[in-house]
Amino acid sequence: MNHLRRHGWLLATLAVALSLPQLAALCGQDFYVSFASRLLIWALLASSLNLLVGMGGMVSLGHAAYFGAGAYVVGILSVEAPGWSSALLVWPLAVALSALLAVVIGAVCLRTRGVYFIMITLAFAQMLFYIFTSLTPYGGDDGLSLAKRLTLPGLAMAGDATFYYVVLAIFAACLTALGRLQASRFGRVLAGIKDNEERMESLGYATFRFKLVAYIIAGALAGLAGALMANQNAFVSPNMMSWNESGIALVMVILGGLGSLWGGLAGAAAFLVLEEVLTGFTTHWQIVLGLILLAVVFFAPRGIAGLFAKQP
């Protein structure tokens, strides 16, 4: 029964996701297509952070660094190598460079733990933020506009609906991979480290290596999200790696459900939809959103996923 219900949810979500451009067209609200793309990209970012925080217990307040790094790979290449217009070339490059950045930063940050880890990840993100702010050849403070979206063979990427399907496919693939990872040997070890790192060490696990690999995967996925966002908005700016964005990603993860596979999507959806709805009522929507978040902390500490889970 439970099984059936879960599949029901999955199918319903998939049906809505696949038919969203048609539904939007029916309502005459094409705006919702790009809104949905944006939502999925945020969901990817939040899901990658959930791998770190929810599954591995590493609370990072600097995850937007990789989001911005991936975006800037797209942005800088559009200036330096305008001929490289294929997403098949640029997106993997964005992923690879974000992963590389995560290797270096992760190797330093993971020497610390707890609050020190929170603060040192924040410090690295701030460094990147200020570096890109003073990088005047690429727009500095003002950011960088992209002439057009990257291309994929056989697809008209300029169309919002087409781009939406591309993002949807990528998100679905990443979420599937994360689901496999969570149930795999690696995922179990990561969960064990979150539970009791000293015990895992004494069982023979080189916990640092596992945490670093998780950190790199999370950085790479965030970089992919950044590259997608650069294409979605045709614009990159240092604000993408500001600590505010890192904070929002973290809020989405907690809102959706720590360590839950669907937590990133649920949290991104809840946050962005709330924002969308509240801005319709008042310009001071942030007060309402803030109060809602406070209520979540005090009354629904396990997030949206906790509302669906069985009562213990």
Binding site: V108, R111, A123, Y130, S134, L135, W243, Q286, G290, L294
Partner: protein, 306 residues
């Protein structure tokens, strides 16, 4: 580098460092004693600056505005502690981050709703608007000298408060061993509230002092909040002495970095490269400092807990 320029940068660094200390002192105690990551600490700084600016305008006196604004912010801080933050002490760091992040959103938007989006003007009091001849060839703005004096006075007062009073003893005990502090007083909730009030008052003081130099605007709290956290982490969580040393270190490094790294690089590198690298290196110098400190001393310079 000329002597007057060097001396002036030293004073600027000292002045910035002391203001940072006002913020970091409260933050490190709250962090150390209650184990609370309070991201909304910067919001109290912003709120303090707004209140002092408005009250100074309303009363026509900077000093009166300052006193009323600091008191009001301390009261708001204590109310916040009782209403919201008290419920977070025993929660994990993630919940604290989420809740205080929400408080930032609320504080920023409330400020925008009450005062509008335009930055507020907080004028230097007329008596202090000039500059003072310090020694041969060096004139320094009088108001900045006042900031240094206030900063030093507060540091001294805090030192006596923490080292010589019963309150200070409880605070020190709490920072090094929370369970012990719990045992010492049957009800130490008042201590937490008091510490929070003092911290909020210091935030407002810093906001009022820096207000005339920087803009009083929404978002001013976030930038300085991160610097305050860097200070706390470098100094060692829970250590007032660490916060003091860390704040001065950051004040000096940041000021000198901004003043001398760009010109220094121009002497070493081609102008095109130096013009990009200089400002970025200058603005990340303190973060490099923090990463370096944590790399060699993962608990900060003066760890409060053994």
């Amino acid at each position: 580098m000329s002597w007057p320029l060097f001396a002036e940068q030293c004073l600027n660094g000292l002045q910035f460092g002391l203001m940072l200390f006002l913020l970091a002192a409260g933050l490190t105690l709250i962090f150390g004693i209650m184990d609370l990551i309070n991201l909304a600490h910067g919001s109290l700084y912003m709120l303090g600056a707004y209140l002092v600016a408005s009250l100074a305008q309303a009363t026509g006196s900077f000093a009166l505005g300052l006193a009323l604004g600091v008191a009001a912010t301390a009261a708001i801080g204590m109310a916040l502690e009782i209403a919201v933050l008290r419920g977070l002490y025993r929660r994990d760091h993630l919940s604290q981050v989420l809740a205080t992040f929400a408080l930032i959103m609320i504080a920023n938007e409330t400020t925008r709703a009450l005062w509008g989006v335009q930055p507020l003007v907080l004028n230097v009091p007329a008596a202090l608007s000039g500059s003072v001849q310090l020694f041969a060839g060096i004139r320094y703005p009088a108001f900045r000298l006042l900031i240094i004096a206030v900063g030093l006075a507060v540091a001294l007062a805090l030192y006596f408060l923490v080292a010589r009073t019963r309150l200070g003893m409880l605070v020190r005990a709490g920072a090094s061993n929370r369970e012990m502090a719990m045992v010492m007083g049957t009800d130490i909730r008042w201590l937490f509230t008091a510490v929070f009030g003092v911290g909020a008052g210091l935030c407002a003081l810093a906001g009022a002092m820096l207000g005339p130099l920087l803009a009083v605007q929404v978002g001013m709290g976030e930038n300085i909040l991160i610097l305050a956290f860097v200070t706390v982490v470098i100094g060692g969580i829970g250590s007032i002495r660490g916060a003091f040393v860390g704040a001065l270190l950051i004040g000096i490094v940041d000021t000198f970095g901004r003043a001398f790294i760009p010109t220094g690089l121009r002497a070493l590198l081609s102008p095109a490269v130096a013009d990009v690298a200089g400002p970025s290196l200058a603005s990340i110098s303190i973060y490099l400092l923090m990463v370096g400190v944590l790399f060699w001393k993962p608990q900060g310079l003066f760890p409060a807990r053994g």
